[in-house]
């Protein structure tokens, strides 16, 4: 079911890209791959990060609640980067997505060696 949904999203994104609508590349962390069709990268669309994640949640029910909270804010243990910049400092879910942006999802994990 998830794999079928992925194809739908990608084909729709490609169609819209041909008509001038922006697309971005999403990098998927290992922990979320089973819920997102097993892929490491995929093309997504949306004017904002919130829009991209909301669309993903609709297309992949298994990931619902893992990207966005019910109130539309980012899941606390999910870090989202646009071109390596954390979106929490770029307007949060309202951070704009531009054509060819690279969006990276990373789980928040404990660090330590650097500070």
């Amino acid at each position: 079911m998830a794999a079928g949904a992925k194809v739908d999203v990608v084909s729709r994104v490609l169609d819209q890209s041909e008509s001038g609508i922006m697309t971005a590349v999403l990098r998927v962390p290992t922990v979320l791959r089973p819920a997102l069709g097993g892929v490491a990268t995929m093309q997504v669309e949306g004017a904002t990060i919130g829009g991209v994640l909301s669309e993903l949640s609709d297309a992949y029910p298994a990931v619902k609640g893992q990207l966005l909270n019910d109130d539309g804010t980012l899941h606390r243990f999910l870090n989202v980067y646009i071109n390596d910049d954390d979106v929490r400092y770029l307007g949060g879910v309202n951070a704009p997505v531009a054509n060819d942006d690279e969006i990276t999802l990373l789980p928040a994990v404990a660090g330590g060696a650097s500070g």
Binding site: F77, L78, D84, D86, V109, A110, G111, G112, A113, G115
Partner: protein, 321 residues
């Protein structure tokens, strides 16, 4: 030459060196604070001493009393620094260490007399934190200083690192450090916010979330309590992630200036370079970054000598950051 009564007196007051030769923007000065000059070799010496002194001040630890045991999760540097401090104070330290850290870190812990408890490498530092929490609950007679939640961690930087930076670089416009436990950023950040509110505070996130494959779900995630308690989200102006390849590239570039630094310091330098690129042509800036440790503990990774593709691939198996 100054004489010191104890190695612990050598902690802090680290030098700052100009690394602007690597700046991509001629209007931007980049200065690196060399924390590898601390006696146990990293920025964590400050934290370890602060954690132990706070516990002693609270009466949790009593110098000279026999059979006092501490437990701490660490991916290396805090463990090594605590091991050194505990050796001098006569405490027995158990370090919960992911099994896939570089062998040098393991050997340094043993050299300072610490006991190592292995946690699953695939779970990274998250796994070490979980295991230490569980063991501390089971052995309430042990002292659990818990660097991720102990205010003595950021306090060390509020009291020492921050004032040293402002003393040596009063013209600072940006401070950039690694996120880790967030202790450096929260402590220095709070100090700079109070003394020079316009300074930008940037965090560099190593790509740990990309390397750790042992998470079962996002609910296994972790945010250090000190980041939350110090309102880290509001403290920071910007946070950037730096990938393994870029970290290694910049770790290598630092040697052009005679600086043999650890891999997370290469990541932080990469973050400083990103920042410098964003400064407009008609503005100047002075960035201060942290070199958290030197490269000695990472020699076995081949980071400087092997093919970079192999080194990047190895980063998935060995904890570099």
């Amino acid at each position: 030459m100054t004489r010191y009564a104890s190695v612990l007196d050598l902690i802090g007051n680290t030098p700052i060196v100009d690394v602007s030769a690597l700046s991509p923007n001629p209007n931007v000065t980049i200065l690196a604070k060399l924390e590898g000059r601390n006696p146990a070799g990293s920025v964590k010496d400050r934290v370890a001493l602060s954690l132990v002194e706070a516990a002693e001040a609270d009466g949790v630890l009593i110098p000279g009393k026999p059979d006092q045991v501490l437990i701490e999760p660490s991916s290396g540097n805090t463990g090594i620094a605590l091991a050194m401090v505990c050796r001098l104070r006569g405490y027995h330290l158990k370090v919960v260490l992911p099994s896939n850290v570089s062998p040098e870190r393991r050997q340094l812990l043993l050299a300072f007399g610490a006991e190592i408890i292995d946690s699953p490498g695939s779970e990274g530092s998250n796994g070490a934190v979980r295991m230490a929490q569980k063991l501390a609950l089971e052995h309430q007679e042990w002292t659990f200083l818990y660097q991720y939640a102990n205010p003595a961690n950021p306090d060390a930087h509020y009291r020492t690192t921050g004032p040293e930076i402002l003393r040596d670089v009063p013209e600072i416009t940006h401070f950039i450090a690694g996120l880790g436990t967030s202790g450096t950023l929260m402590g220095v950040g709070r100090y700079l916010r109070e003394m020079k509110p316009d300074v930008q505070i940037w965090a560099v996130e190593p790509p740990s979330g990309e390397m750790v494959d042992g998470l079962r779900s996002l609910e296994d995630g972790y945010i250090p309590p000190i980041f939350i308690e110090n309102h880290g989200a509001e403290m920071l102006d910007r946070k950037v992630v730096v990938r393994a390849r870029e970290s290694i590239e910049w770790t290598r570039r630092m040697t052009e200036l005679g600086l043999f630094v650890g891999i997370s310091s290469g990541a932080i330098m990469a973050g400083a370079v990103k920042c410098a690129k964003l400064i407009p042509e008609d503005e100047t800036a002075t960035i201060v970054t942290i070199v958290c440790d030197d490269g000695w503990k990472y020699l076995s990774t081949g980071a400087w000598s092997d093919d970079i593709d192999d080194v990047v691939e190895r980063a998935k198996k060995i904890i570099y950051f």
